[in-house]
């Protein structure tokens, strides 16, 4: 059986035809991704539980101002747009239009990267204003101010803020790498390598992303292993499954944004 039959046939087993119909009618990869997302939602669920638990038992501060909200709104817009371009990529892949699949995937990655960069700048600004946790490298300016007081009096606030958003940022990063691997196969590895090394040297060492950028190194390693084991080209199913992941990461942000930003904002 050739790969062509696999791409078009609905059944994706070693020996088609001889099986019971899949219980949920989807092909295995899609079922696998749905299951992964089910478990990942519990992972986020646990973090959100930790957040709510602290929020309920603590006099929760509301230190965010318009600037943060404006920034987070732009980030949200980036993610929403990226979901749209992702949908376009899936459509293109289903038409068999490889050029546009790649273009739309690239657009999705650009929006995702924009989200990460904006988020990183936001983090850096907040840390500079004093919203930190003890383990972060702190610039001198972080010593005083309203956010510094919050960090001192309610350490749960920065801890949950950074914990939740870091986990989400990690998921977006993995998503961008995932899409890059789907769209560009092994050509994406050198790009990732350059971003990693450049990031490490360009980001000053008193910035947390000087260390955080190593996530890219880890991503490089995992991507290389996966490409080594599965060097074959992607197909429409791969794009659709990657899309599921991407939309899920979007969806999670739609919980985080109101919870950690909007509900922690002072309306004066």
């Amino acid at each position: 059986m050739s790969n062509a039959t696999l791409e078009h046939g609905a059944v994706e087993h070693g020996m088609p035809g001889a099986y019971e119909a899949p219980l949920f009618g989807a092909y295995s990869k899609k079922v696998g991704m749905w299951l992964f997302l089910a478990s990942d939602s519990l992972t986020f669920g646990a973090l959100l539980f930790a957040f709510s638990y602290n929020r309920i038992y603590t006099a929760w501060p509301t230190p965010f101002h318009a600037a943060s909200i404006a920034n987070a709104t732009i980030m949200t817009a980036c993610l929403l747009s990226s979901s749209l371009t992702m949908v376009m990529a899936v459509f293109a892949a289903q038409r068999g239009d490889r050029a546009w699949t790649r273009n739309w995937l690239l657009a999705t990655m650009v929006f995702g990267t924009a989200f990460i960069v904006l988020h990183g700048m936001e983090w850096t600004k907040l840390i500079g204003e004093g919203l930190t946790i003890p383990g972060f490298p702190k610039p001198a300016s972080a010593a005083a101010g309203e956010l510094a007081d919050v960090s001192k009096n309610v350490p749960q606030f920065p801890a949950t803020f950074f914990g939740l958003t870091a986990m989400h940022m990690l998921h977006v990063t993995i998503g961008v790498i995932y899409l890059g691997v789907v769209a560009f196969r092994k050509w994406f590895l050198p790009v990732l390598g350059v971003l990693w090394i450049a990031g490490y040297f360009l980001i000053p060492s008193d910035n947390v992303f000087h260390y955080g950028v190593h996530a890219l190194g880890l991503g490089l390693l995992v991507a290389a292993i996966i490409l080594f084991l599965k060097p074959k080209d992607y197909d429409a199913h791969d794009v659709e499954v990657a899309g599921l992941y991407w939309h899920f990461v979007d969806l999670v942000w739609m919980f985080i944004f109101p919870l950690v930003y909007l509900m922690s904002t002072r309306i004066s």
């Binding site: 070693g14 099986y19 899949p22 638990y53 350490p155």
Partner: protein
């Protein structure tokens, strides 16, 4: 692609692709099995040291020297963690599940063979990491397998709480990821790759148990992963998720405002499903074996399935019964208590169905059958203490005593191990092509059964008498010394039981190379793994996909030529 034909058309060549980085679920299953075997011996050795320390605290042992009180805590932490994660979660699901789930549903492999290989190697890395904890400065952590904060969150809280505790958490996190990958593979395989005619309600109960275990694993390990990440943050980034304002050795720690209860909630939300992850595959294999060796259909197949499903469902709603003594509101304690008692109902259904299966059967007392009966015995005697513990009022007295240790060792520890033994004796012929020695098997069974009861039954009395768990020395405390004879008895029982395990290991390896050759279906079982050759070919059925016509347990069928009907037999349309 799930499993392109090319993968299965010809078996991989070369030692490395064939035995080390193999994609074949059978090889991976055996890898998991041997990983668990290694782990169980490490864990057993640690328990031996603990038992020795409890009655001769000052004895100087060869190799290890004199065990210090804090070393006792390291031993018990590592014993519990290794046993729960790398034995009870690894062998029944990763080992036997990997090997037999695809064959029993008639598939050539798992849905995602590459992912399957990655799950195993991730688990392996997790094991290496946790073993490293022994050898770093300060040694292994002290906080028990439950890792309660703030002890687990403060590197200054004790010698083992330094790097060792970080390695412990990292290992658990790695294990979580491996189990998640494994679970989604099991689920997809079961949903998508059943041979024609293998409807869900014709699956052997083993497959059902692996399926439900995988659901529990998929949902529970995700939560533990988050809990572990937050714990690592507390330890290394100075956050205060789990740590309130605390003073250690007169020094105020930099934490404030956190809640140790948050850890307990997150941990037990995982922890209670985890105990079912350990026991459900044992239930599955027990059902399979009891039916086969009683030569009777399993009593109440559907009831068995629904009982397992409801155990899985309720399993997520009872975690609070581990926290009655944490100061939770009496109202929620009441709710958790009621929900916990509810689980007793499906558990009892299963037990009665097992007894009903054996009732009036033509029982063949082979070693697998003995172990399956032993499983039922331990499940009952360990389970009966559960409803006592589930009463908040009684738990005030019993919590954190040896009573709890007795409860969970009988029901989770030893019962699940009996499930593993039953599975090993039952499937060994299929896996290695030879029979295990029955005489030594039976001797092993009786010694282990008597030995484990001798070790864990007295624990209930110790607990009721108020002896606390996790204490390293009882010899110096006047009122406790009265209980010392019982502790001494348990230690001697442990010596004998542990020695008896050598019989198993020798039997295992000897039979692997020297045992008599096994036929394709030595136990006259009906499920698909017994229709293929022994050991099964690379794609399980030699290029054909079986077609299933019968339910899994058609034994003693009236009018059939033999006393059983294979699932693939075309003829006789027995009602099912």
């Amino acid at each position: 692609m799930a499993t392109p034909a090319s993968v299965h058309a010809h078996a991989p060549q070369g030692f490395i692709r064939k035995y080390i980085f193999s994609l074949d679920h059978k090889v991976i299953g055996i890898q998991y099995f041997f990983l668990a075997l290694t782990a169980v011996f490490v864990g057993m050795f640690l328990s031996l040291l603990m038992r020795i320390h409890l009655i001769w605290p000052t004895a100087s042992l060869p190799l290890v020297g004199t065990i210090q009180p804090e070393t006792y805590l390291s031993l018990l932490t590592m014993h519990g963690t290794i046993m729960v994660f790398f034995v009870l979660t690894t062998a029944p699901q990763g080992g036997f599940g990997n090997y037999f789930l695809p064959i029993q549903i008639g598939a050539p492999d798992m849905a995602f063979p590459v992912l399957n290989m990655l799950s195993f190697w991730t688990t392996f890395v997790g094991f290496v990491v946790i073993i490293c904890a022994f050898f770093v400065t300060g040694g292994a952590p002290l906080h028990g397998w439950t890792g309660y904060a703030p002890l687990s969150a403060l590197p200054s809280a004790g010698p083992g709480e330094q790097l060792g505790a970080d390695l412990w958490i990292t290992s658990i996190a790695i294990f979580c990821i491996a189990s998640l990958l494994g679970a989604l593979n099991f689920l997809t395989t079961t949903l998508d790759m059943r041979a024609k005619g293998m409807t869900m309600m014709r699956m052997p109960l083993t497959c059902w148990s692996w399926f439900i275990t995988a659901i529990l694993g998929l949902l529970a390990f995700g939560v533990l992963l988050s809990a572990g990440i937050l714990l690592l943050m507390d330890r290394n980034l100075g956050t205060s998720f789990y740590v309130p304002l605390v003073v250690v050795n007169g020094q105020v720690m930099g934490h404030k405002g956190g809640s140790p209860l948050l850890w307990q909630h997150l941990f037990w939300f995982f922890g209670h499903p985890e105990v079912y992850i350990a026991i459900l595959p044992g239930m599955g294999v027990t059902s399979q074996i009891l039916s086969t060796f009683s030569r009777k259909p399993i009593f109440g197949y559907r009831a068995m399935v629904y009982a397992m499903l409801s155990i899985g469902f309720f399993g997520f709603m009872v975690w609070g019964h581990h926290m009655f003594m944490s100061g939770m509101s009496p109202y929620s304690a009441f709710a958790f208590s009621i929900l916990t008692m509810c689980i007793g109902v499906p558990s009892a259904i299963k037990t009665f169905n097992w007894l009903g299966t054996m009732y009036k059967g033509r029982i063949r007392f082979s070693t697998p059958m003995l172990y399956a009966i032993g499983f039922v015995s331990l499940f009952v005697s360990g389970g009966l203490s559960g409803p006592f513990l589930a009463q908040p009022v009684l738990d005030i007295q019993l919590h954190d005593t040896y009573f709890v240790v007795g409860h969970f060792h009988l029901i989770m520890g030893v019962a699940a191990i009996f499930g593993i033994f039953a599975a090993t004796y039952y499937w060994f012929p299929k896996m290695f092509g030879r029979m295990m020695n029955e005489t030594w098997g039976k001797l092993h069974f009786f010694l282990t059964l008597a030995g484990t009861y001798a070790i864990f039954m007295p624990m209930h009395y110790l607990g009721m008498a108020g002896q606390t768990r996790r204490y390293s020395q009882f010899t110096e405390v006047a009122y406790q010394t009265k209980l010392l004879p019982l502790q001494t008895f348990m230690t001697y029982a442990a010596f004998i039981t542990i020695a008896a395990q050598l019989i198993f290991v020798i039997n295992l390896f000897w039979s692997m190379f020297k045992g008599p050759k096994a036929s394709d279906n030595p136990w006259e079982s009906t499920t698909l793994e017994w229709t293929t050759s022994t050991p099964p070919p690379h794609d399980n059925f030699g290029g054909v996909t079986p077609v299933v016509h019968h339910g899994p347990y058609e034994y003693g069928v009236p009018g059939a030529a033999k006393d059983y009907v294979m699932q693939t037999d075309p003829a006789t349309s027995t009602a099912h």
